[in-house]
């Protein structure tokens, strides 16, 4: 099967940011995103998802490298300092390159 390489960008951050981030991601030309509810621990302590202020989300975006870079740069600039947030990028193969 013919497959094509794209980037998978994963962000784990505070649930309160969901609305804002989704708008940012749309604006930065991603074609879609997938969100799951999460909990976890990091530099800003334990976030156990017991109630809203304490819940995380995990956002995945499959996109081309330029978009991934743009989103990563934007998030780093706007949210890294003030929010519990991590971000990582990996390579994935997709079947329909035009879709992402």
């Amino acid at each position: 099967m013919q497959s094509h390489t794209r980037k998978l960008l994963t962000v784990v951050t505070e649930a309160v940011l969901e609305g804002t981030l989704v708008r940012d991601i749309d604006r930065l030309n991603a074609r879609g995103y997938t969100i799951t509810d999460a909990r976890g621990k990091g530099h800003r302590g334990v976030r156990s998802a017991g109630w809203e202020a304490n819940s995380n989300i995990r956002i995945e975006v499959v996109c081309d490298e330029a978009t991934a870079d743009a989103i990563a740069a934007y998030l780093q600039e706007h949210y890294y300092e003030d929010y519990a947030m991590i971000l990582f990028v990996s390579d994935v193969d997709v079947l329909r390159p035009e879709k992402f």
Partner: protein, 314 residues
């Protein structure tokens, strides 16, 4: 005799402190909150239907002023005595100028089980008291800068879950009146205290998670978390007395003043003043003030109200 709902709070807190595996699923916590918010709104709405709206205007304005005053009063204490960063002081001040719906529910239950009457339109004042402190908090943190996106702040504040449900409940109660609501009473009114018990169980668990942060941020936050509500309750009692509220109503207003938000304000601050550390305000509001009010504050504020009324008459 201690109210059983308080015992549920203690059960949750104890289980949390002992690191029990007990956890309420987040969906249940939301369900319980939604029912409480709607029930409180509905109860207030029924009463609004009975009163000429105009007669409430002075109270409404007074309560908005109270919200502005309390948050403005808290700020310098936090900034200069507590030496918090500007954003942190502003955010904590906003929490304490606003109100906690959970604490309101507890004072209502407290008065109910002692058969002490109070002005039933209190939920209207509750809604009004939620908002001003948020504005104060943002302005204190940011200044009146042009950059503040007030449109999105307004959206955040007025369309947040708690205000929509309270206000929606108020309007439905007002439109439907007591007879109209009788068919939904079994869920919203008969189960109220049972559901409040579950809510307090979860609040106990949440409170217990704040102990760690408290230990880190130390004695000032603890002192503030007890001193500020006592001060606010004094102001609230005075205002209740000036407005001619009953003993019950005065106690409720004092409790509202004394309570610190942990739903609407944290969400608004997180979006609008992100540089404020949410751990600080939640540790104070949830870790100190909520338990203090629920366990000790409410009886004190009730005593204050009685005292104010006796004093006034004598």
């Amino acid at each position: 005799m201690i109210d059983p709902i308080i015992l549920f709070f203690l059960l949750g807190a104890t289980a949390g402190l002992l690191r029990s595996e007990l956890r309420l699923p987040a969906a249940i916590y939301e369900f319980v909150s939604i029912v409480l918010l709607l029930a409180i709104g509905l109860k207030g709405g029924i009463e609004l239907a009975r009163q000429p709206f105009g007669s409430l205007l002075p109270q409404m304005l007074a309560v908005v002023a109270l919200g502005f005053f309390l948050s403005l009063a808290a700020f310098p204490v936090l900034r200069y005595l507590g030496r918090f960063k500007r954003a942190d002081a502003a955010s904590i001040a906003a929490h304490y100028g606003s109100v906690s719906v959970g604490t309101y529910a507890v004072v209502v239950a407290y008065l109910g089980s002692r058969q002490i009457a109070f002005e039933e339109h209190m939920p209207l004042l509750l809604v009004l008291l939620e908002v001003p402190a948020i504005i104060v908090g943002i302005v204190l943190a940011r200044g009146l800068s042009r950059e503040t996106r007030w449109r999105s702040v307004a959206h955040e504040v007025f369309l947040g879950k708690s205000i929509v449900l309270l206000l929606g409940g108020l309007l439905i109660g007002w439109a439907a009146g007591p007879d109209g609501l009788s068919s939904i009473e079994p869920l919203f009114f008969d189960l109220f205290k049972g559901i409040l018990a579950l809510f307090l169980l979860e609040m106990g668990l949440i409170t217990a998670t704040q102990v760690g942060s408290l230990r880190r941020y130390g004695p000032f936050l603890m002192a503030f978390g007890i001193g500020m509500p006592l001060f606010s309750a004094l102001v609230g009692t005075g205002l209740g007395w000036v407005l001619g509220l009953s003993i019950g109503g005065t106690a409720v207003l004092a409790t509202l003043a004394a309570s610190a938000s942990y739903i609407a304000v944290p969400a608004a601050m997180r979006i609008s003043v992100p540089e404020a550390n949410p751990t600080l305000s939640l540790a104070a509001a949830l870790g100190v003030t909520f338990p203090f009010n629920v366990l000790f504050g409410i009886p004190i504020y009730h005593a204050l109200a009685v005292w104010a009324h006796t004093f006034a008459k004598g």
